[in-house]
């Protein structure tokens, strides 16, 4: 027991004495002492900040790459040539067709057509003709000229999206 005590005391003495201390026994990382950095003893570098910068997310939605025809996910880009119609329907900020379905009180289904520019009544007429051909009856629609939207009774979002994509919007 006295031997282990003496050995432990010797090891501790060696670890704490700076003259005999080796690098592995709990010493802090030391770089070369350069007289230019002053007495602190480490180099200040901002080049490693690029590892932080590449983690910061972007704020802008990227424009999708050029596709000819539908993308593998089913997304169809707007046609390069503008359709020559008196109205225009812009894409949403995520580049989708702005047709949304809505349910109120569990039984009132409606479809909302947003971001309409130009002659909204001409689009209303075309939508009614298309849905008459589709279902056989003309659905009631509400045209809001102030907010530039059309609300249609019934759930027709898939059919309207395909119809608008065919038109080239």
């Amino acid at each position: 027991m006295s031997l282990t005590v003496c050995r432990a005391a010797r090891v501790a003495y060696r670890a704490f004495n700076p003259a005999t201390r080796s690098l592995s026994t709990g010493a802090c990382l030391r770089t070369e002492r350069n007289p230019a950095e002053g007495s602190r003893g480490f180099i200040v570098s901002t080049e490693e900040f690029r590892f932080v910068e590449r983690l910061i997310p972007p704020s802008r939605i990227p424009t999708p790459p050029e596709h000819e025809g539908p993308a593998p996910s089913g997304w169809i880009p707007p046609s390069a040539t503008l359709p020559s119609l008196p109205y225009m329907i812009r894409r949403s900020r995520m580049h989708n067709v702005p047709v949304y379905s809505d349910i109120k009180h569990g039984n009132q289904h409606s479809t909302l057509l947003r971001k309409i520019e130009g002659d909204i009544w001409a689009l209303n007429k075309d939508v009614k003709e298309f849905l008459l051909g589709l279902t056989g009856k003309e659905p009631p629609t509400q045209v809001n000229e102030v907010t530039r939207t059309i609300r249609i009774k019934g759930q027709f979002d898939k059919e309207l999206k395909e119809w608008l994509l065919k038109k080239g919007f």
């Binding site: 910061i56 704020s59 802008r60």
Partner: protein, 301 residues
């Protein structure tokens, strides 16, 4: 009374008939002009669309294919009667948006009220001094029954439902609504011929009369709001607008709907137009914020 109403209706019908026969320049019949009105009716300037002057500034951002940029004269503040230097293109998604007056009203009301803290406070019956003791017995005195002399029924008593303490009227409209309000205000100014684009704000003298003469000569209106980008403005224009009440200068970050509606006409420099287009168009193509936009993102405008 019936005869009087018949006479009035007859008069208005006759006036309307006269105005429709005389031509388009007749004023509406219910417009009352003061008899001592001084001033020249503002002459309408030619639109910059079909002019020969070169287009000195194109839009930096992409203009959608189905819209054409709005155009405006580029003027100079150097001397009173200098001709416009050229024509400037303005992005349609900032200067030709559909004018939603309801959004404009909402933003203006918000700007007035969100800073409001009303400090009105009155004492309730608990806070008015005294009134802890029952004034007289419940029964036997012959008077009405009361519990304290400071109840709201009493003279000198507390107020039952008065304003209580500082009340805050703070609320925030969605960011996109406020941005749309700015775009609509700029569109309205352009559409009503109250928007003027200027190359820089350098004037020859720090005299406020020079600016007033310029505004009067060019028929810019009663009040002018001058907007430029950056921390430093030329000293001459700062001194000239310092003591003027109707001509004011603000940096582009300070542009707001209330100031635009308060001043009759708006003067933007080319850098201010570029700055506004960049900042306002970014909101059309940005993601929803992952964390507040005050913290760094890689490509904030």
């Amino acid at each position: 009374m019936f005869r009087a109403t018949l006479a009035i209706c007859g008069r208005t019908v006759v006036k309307r008939f006269i105005s429709s026969v005389s031509g388009e320049s007749a004023l509406p019949s219910n417009l009352r002009l003061p008899p001592n009105l001084i001033g020249v009716a503002p002459q309408k300037r030619a639109s910059p669309c079909g002019s020969d002057l070169p287009v000195l500034r194109r839009c930096e951002a992409d203009v959608p294919a189905h819209l054409a940029p709005a155009q405006m004269w580029l003027e100079s503040l150097g001397s009173c009667d200098r001709e416009p230097l050229g024509v400037v293109d303005l992005h349609p998604d900032v200067f030709s948006v559909p004018v939603r007056l309801d959004i404009l009203h909402d933003v203006e009301v918000w700007q007035r009220n969100f800073k409001r803290i009303s400090h009105a406070k009155v004492k309730s019956r608990a806070e008015v001094s005294g009134g802890g003791r029952k004034p007289w017995n419940q029964k036997g005195s012959g008077r009405a029954r009361h519990g304290s002399i400071r109840s709201p029924l009493w003279r000198g008593g507390g107020v039952a439902h008065g304003p209580r303490g500082p009340t805050s009227y703070y609320y925030m409209l969605p960011m996109k609504v406020r941005v749309q309000g700015l775009k609509i205000a700029l569109t309205a100014k352009l559409a009503q011929d109250y928007l003027h684009i200027v190359d820089s704000l350098e004037i020859p003298t720090p005299d406020p009369h020079y600016l007033l003469d310029l505004v009067k000569h060019r028929q810019w209106g009663d009040s002018v709001l001058i907007v430029d980008v950056g921390d430093e403005f030329p000293q001459n224009i700062l001194k000239a607008t310092e003591d003027l009440k109707t001509v004011n200068i603000i940096p582009a970050i300070g542009l707001n709907v209330h100031s635009m509606l308060k001043h009759e006409s708006l003067v933007l420099t080319l850098e201010a137009v570029k700055f506004l287009e960049k900042k306002l168009l970014w909101h059309d193509v940005r993601y929803a914020p992952l964390y507040p936009f005050k913290l760094p993102y890689s490509d904030l405008p």
